[in-house]
Symmetry: D2
Subunit: 279 residues, 4 copies
């Protein structure tokens, strides 16, 4: 599948969607996008910049939600123009979709909303590539129905994204089998390595996270076989205004990407023997 300026798929090099969880300031956005572009260029990893203008589903209403739509879109437009990278942002049920779609290159739908039929259709109908996150409550084989709803709009650029499944309370687990199962949708499969280590609600009024497992799960997913990776990053995660506990520190990102790229090269050269056994 063509995605922005590159091809995405199990037979293509792994791509990266990355950036700080929420847009904190124009300067931070430009700085992180610039560093990420240089880094991914060096490694030969196609890159899409991600950041949110409004975190509509924070655990508590006292959490920082972002700069809002207008200011957020303006910053994303600046990133796109100045740094020269495609940008992705997530939209919600009350987002003016056309306004967002006029600026960004890729739309993303939140995991909690994957079963909202009208919403998924409205987003897909914008005609941009869409990254659909699988709900924490959904079996991987049930993503096929979600994808069908999106495709009924005529949009063929649909990606599906694993970000962990509910496992008891306040914990997610990443089922690597799901990555293979979701291939059968025909969509590029993306693994979200930072939300997968979230501990939803695990710190009382905000979500916790286990940053130390980001590299473990990212390596596992790449070796399982994915089209792309999603990883939130921050120059100083302990000071991040959203999802700091599960963000991967930007100063350690190139080292991690280097390993992931090497694994991706190996596994894609070797092929996916399970395809002979999946019906």
């Amino acid at each position: 599948m063509k995605l922005c300026h590159f091809q995405a798929g199990l037979d293509q090099p792994v791509f990266l969607i990355s950036g700080p969880c929420v847009i904190e300031s124009e300067q931070l956005a430009l700085d992180t996008a610039g560093l990420l572009k240089e880094m991914t260029d060096r490694l030969g990893i196609p890159f899409i910049y991600k950041s949110s203008f409004d975190k509509a589903n924070r655990s508590s209403s006292r959490s920082f939600r972002g700069p809002g739509l207008e200011k957020g879109l303006q910053i994303l437009e600046t990133v796109k123009r100045v740094i020269g990278v495609p940008v992705l942002t997530d939209v919600h049920e009350d987002t003016p979709l056309a306004e967002v779609a006029a600026v960004v290159d890729v739309l993303q739908t939140p995991a909690f909303l994957c079963r909202q039929t009208n919403f998924i259709r409205n987003v897909a109908a914008q005609g941009l590539p869409v990254n659909i996150k699988k709900g924490q409550f959904l079996a991987p084989w049930d993503m096929k129905h979600v994808v069908d709803k999106a495709r009924e709009t005529g949009n063929t650029q649909i990606m599906v994204c694993e970000r962990g499944v509910s496992f008891g309370y306040n914990t997610l687990v990443s089922d690597m089998r799901g990555l293979a199962v979701m291939r059968e949708t025909g969509c590029p499969v993306v693994f979200d390595a930072t939300h997968s280590v979230q501990q939803p609600g695990g710190r009382g009024a905000s979500s916790g996270g286990q940053r130390e497992f980001v590299p473990v799960l990212a390596r596992a997913a790449v070796a399982s076989g994915v089209a792309g990776l999603f990883m939130e990053t921050h120059p100083d995660p302990d000071k991040a205004l959203s999802d700091g506990p599960n963000a991967w520190p930007l100063p350690h990102l190139e080292a991690l990407l280097n390993t992931l790229k090497a694994l991706d090269d190996v596994v894609k050269a070797q092929g996916f023997i399970e395809q002979q056994f999946l019906n």
Copy 2:
């Protein structure tokens, strides 16, 4: 808490929210509401009629979604006027809330949407009692943050509703501890006995259900201690246009309610000894 024409709480008789999942026709709505009213009057169970005008989050886009907003509200208004019962319906992110709030007595929010801050606030801001369903991905102690968001609008008539938590794929489990935990929100706690036996996505393009466990879980919840019960019913569940596999057959409902009322009387007369041990 005052709810419609009665008092709701752990020190009050259990109330019932019931009706067919989706509004199939005016006649079916009137017939079921009439039978439910007579039955609950006989048993001394305060009653609210429930039915949906649009099932926005069906597994597949080929499923029946209901009569739509206008026709649906007209039928609910007729039920209310002709049968003389309060009515509840569920709303979604794209529902015109004021239109619905002008007709119904209680609003209900879907489990998948319990973390959508704007939505929860907008619904609560209508000033009607709200039944907030707990997400299948949420720990019971995390409902306190959801309730806080709703209460910030000034609405004090908030209920919380357990409807099962994700347990592996395509299955839910009902954790009766959660009913006690959610008491600490100060809201009346409702147990949804029919969605709790849903098998999400369990039949391919639609959800399955285990009707045979409805009485087991309903009895367990009443004995655990709840303010109210939610149970979808249908004169002939195998012909229901939505959620038939988990609906409880109307012809068997009075027998079940009779048992539940007797259990509720016993447990509320005896008191809840755990309150001494919960901090």
Copy 3:
């Protein structure tokens, strides 16, 4: 089914298996057994005294394991003779079964060992009633195979016991549907209300527990419909040498049993409507 001096089943009054987790001393055993006998006699609840001589599967090897076989059996024999109650103890793969069977009235097998074929058969072959705890890893419908193995020895006095199922890490959940499912084994179904609130390994080197939920789950199970209840108790759980955090305080037991007995009377008088829907 005949069990010790009474009949056990869904059409019989609920019975109780109770006592301190581990035999701490002869005096404590006699005191607790005496109080439990008086209390259950007052309430008309058939009673079996339970205590362990060796906790073979403690989380850490530094935990107290009990008085050992010889001393333990001697104390159980004294309890039986002096107090006049039947006694139950749990056995392990290296327990000399015949020695234990010569003293006690009921044998119990640990949840972790429910899939050990030889063990289950050897225990059943002693010819005493056996309470088989369902593994935390087992689906309720799979207990049928365990029961089949036990019955192949010719023993017909088999009970099955729910004690929670794994739910993420360090937590169990009690699925009340399982109590109905396990009826289909034809065995009396017992609910273990104190191990169900265990948090396995939840306190580092020992297991934690949530005592406050014992009454909630016990009421839920009785209303779901069980033949018997299992509840560990202790005069002062905070000083108990094993499983204190989930033991129910003896001074609060009669109040709880009073409620449970009342619920059991109601539910068994009303009948189990789900039986018409279970195949």
Copy 4:
């Protein structure tokens, strides 16, 4: 850690434990061991042959259990002598440990028995390397207590093995974070790629399996970082007498191992960046 004729650890090439689940015949044992030895020699993968003489914990008592102790040990001894490979077998609570330890090179303990203190100690006390499988009900951080019990015997050659954790009913999930967590025991961590795709009890009287996911999970585990892999294999899994549905077909094994070896080389050359973030 020294293991048989090689070094095992996160800084050493991945080793393989493999063979048919149960010893079906001497001929099959010799044939499979011979092919496995040649294959692993070609790939530079240290190899230990695995097969069971008695499957003591089959779902149903009508399943094939193996040739028994005497015949089984004789076959393992023949494999060892004729093929020149170290052999591993699993032991149970009623296994005469010294007899087995006199023949095999490595002992393995079943997942269900990981919390049986006496058993774990008795096995460790044989002085051979022991592969301890983590229970399906155990959190990875709780393996530390199991390892402590084993080490108290003076045995320093302890391995820990992940084989999936309970995830709802009849399903396991492999949590790759657990592989990193268990490193902190100081023991070589092994991933069991074939039992991890078991569906316990999932086919009624026997366990099902999802063979197609073996390569996915094996690749994920190797990229997460493990000392060794465990994979049951069979020349014709559909005819295997035990665990056929989850065995990996021997004719496809070399292709899979080739990929795994390449991934292991990459990841171990790159290092494990998470070690800086784990405390």
